[in-house]
């Protein structure tokens, strides 16, 4: 196998070992175990060991299996989109705003839909910040409005207009049945319907968000787990500088 092709690694290069656990809706026993082995085989695994089979009731069995995955992928062909963020700290960011934008920045954040999770958006916006990294409210050159949770798209938009925001920060945590996709899309449609899409930087965030997904949804950028406020601030500042001519929103 050429070097750039990769497979899972157990204890020998390219052994392909993966661990699997799953439930089959059948009663435990030799037949169930055989079914589990056959099933795992259908997932492109060879040498499947059904190590563990335990009854969860009389019609459901839990399995732990190991097997050697057959596919290999060419790692050199994989490229992941990331919000291009220059690494800057609190001081550098404020400096850059003063020097290169020469005005204060204004952002508004909210958790939209019926989602009540605020810890994520708070981590980015509140004074206190996250992981020893100050939140946007603390930046002297940024005016940050945190609307909290359960905010409708309409309310968010209204506030953004009222305060003449540069950027909308939108958070979504509940992803069951793709609730987050639904809410993100609805907001984007609203922006477009109101012909306000280009007026703001629109940034998505939450535990299941990647930059790629955000782009797909029509957002400017997306930030996932572990994001630090300074990363978001740096992204906003550098993007606004780039778009300077196009944008003339003011607080």
């Amino acid at each position: 196998m050429p070097e750039q092709w990769i497979k899972p690694y157990g204890d020998t290069l390219n052994d392909g070992l993966v661990q699997l656990s799953f439930t089959l809706p059948v009663e435990n026993g030799p037949r169930a175990i055989k079914a589990a082995r056959i099933y795992a085989g259908k997932l492109n695994l060879k040498n499947v060991t059904v190590a563990c089979a335990e009854a969860m009731d009389d019609a459901h069995t839990f399995f732990v299996a190991y097997g050697r995955a057959e596919p290999a992928i060419d790692y050199s062909e994989i490229r992941a989109e990331e919000a291009t963020v220059e690494h800057m700290d609190f001081y550098e960011i404020n400096d850059r705003i003063r020097k290169d934008l020469n005005r204060r920045i204004c952002v508004v954040g909210a958790t939209i839909g019926s989602d009540a999770h605020t810890v994520g958006i708070d981590a980015i916006m509140n004074m206190k910040g996250y992981n020893q990294d100050y939140g946007l409210e603390r930046y002297p050159e940024i005016d940050a409005y945190n609307m909290g949770a359960q905010v409708t798209g309409e309310d968010l938009l209204k506030t953004a207009m009222d305060i003449n925001a540069d950027a909308l920060l939108v958070s979504q945590t509940v992803t069951q049945k793709d609730a987050h996709l639904h809410n993100f899309t609805e907001l984007m449609e609203l922006l477009e319907a109101e012909q306000l899409r280009d007026r703001f930087l629109v940034i998505a965030g939450g535990p299941r968000i990647t930059h790629e997904l955000a782009i797909e949804l029509g957002y400017d950028a997306g930030f996932g787990p572990g994001t630090l406020p300074s990363q978001v601030a740096a992204y906003i500042v550098t993007t606004l500088i780039k778009r300077r001519i196009m944008l003339n929103a003011k607080c």
Partner: protein, 520 residues
Amino acid sequence: MEKIPLNKEQIGRVKSTAADIAGQIREMIRTYSTVCVERTLLRLYGVDGVVDDETPVPNRVVDILVEENRIDSGVTRALAAVMIKTGRDAKTVAELIARRRIPLEDPASYDMERIMAVEQELARKAVDVLDHSRKRKQAAIDRWGLPVQPWKYMITATGNIYEDRTQARSAVYSGADIIAVIRSTAQSLLDYIPYGPTTEGFGGTYATQENFRIMRKALNEVSERQGRYVRLVNYASGLCMSEIAACAAFEDLDMLLNDSMYGILFRDINMMRTFIDQYVSRLICSRAKIIINTGEDNYLTTSDAMENAYSVTASQLINEAMAKDALLTDDLIGLGHAFEINPKIENAFLYEIAHAQLARQLFPNAPLKYMPPTKYKSTNIFYSHALDTMFNLASITTNQGIHLAGILTEAIHTPLMQDRYLSLQGIDYVFGLARGLGDEIAFKPDGLIVNRAKRVLDETEQLLDELKDIGLMEGVALGKFANIKRSRDGGKGLDGVFKKGPNYSNPVMDRIEREGVINA
């Protein structure tokens, strides 16, 4: 066994301060009622069903009362009047009113004695519902006894009541003592109870009376098969707090998440509204012997467990006092707390033990509800399973009452069947392995554990003293709990609060209050 030497006088002081704080709320409650309370009465009188395919009859009837500006006298006498007029029962009458087939009547134009007789009859039936439920639960205890504590509490949250049923059966098979059907997200904001069985939900399954029934029936069956009674839980907090309590009594639920503080802080529900609804829902729980669970654990998902532990304890004390005001006895007060200290903090386990043991000693007879780690759960399910293992140990060591099962996929998705199974397996492992540990060890006097507990109690006392001065509502407005600020006049549901008029009557509440705690 006083493992931590707490100051008895101080405990007396905080309990009495908490009672004072609750008393202030109780004052407010005396003068107000809510649309929810009135709908609750209708339900207890037997009113049910929907009109126009979705509006519950109790809602429509109360809406009409509001429309007609007669809500301040409450629903009961108005209903009684129509009953007298039509000679039909409450359910039929309410339906007819809801369909606008017949108008509401002004009770003033009826003989007061007849009205009151009907009213008493309605109240009797209503209280019968509660008594009946209490007795059925007592019968289960008589037959099967109570499980040893900590009780293993397991959630289902598929969104589909029939899948929930499948998951619940499997969980019981794996040892769960209690099944909690988690509610679809934001149901607390609905100002009505959805109707019938439901198969779509988000992060949970709608709380409907039919869903309660389906699950209770399934659990009755597995109870028979397993030879032990499996308890059922749902969520009352929100805009339908007391109504859901009524439905729960109808369907013999054993526990309810029941805490207005949760609604205020996390759902932005108006505080007056929900304090009133809570009081009535707790009266119902008291009479029907439904254990309430409070939501202090949630505070620590937002604010820090080391910094704000005292706010949990303070809230527990206030919640206990409010529960006792509503006739709940110790055995029905499942005060909540949680294992939520940042695991990166050196000796976090010792502080967790201190918190859990403090709660245990402050409320020795309450079935404390102990919440597993959630905030610091990782998407690394193996790491998260280790967190739960330590949580299980803290619980058995400090002898908690209601043990919420920690789930290894907490940071990923609502639990799969196998996640549940692994959780229960882990609990059994640790509980068996260390059942006697709490009895076996003593804490170093002046050590980390003892000092931490004392410190939290001191901070609690400070907060309570402050709250006694400014009042609970002002305290909430200042962000004293979970760092979230809510104003007295803000939040959802305030428009459903009304001042009781001179003719206001609520014979069910009167009766329950009058008859006090009943234990048979």
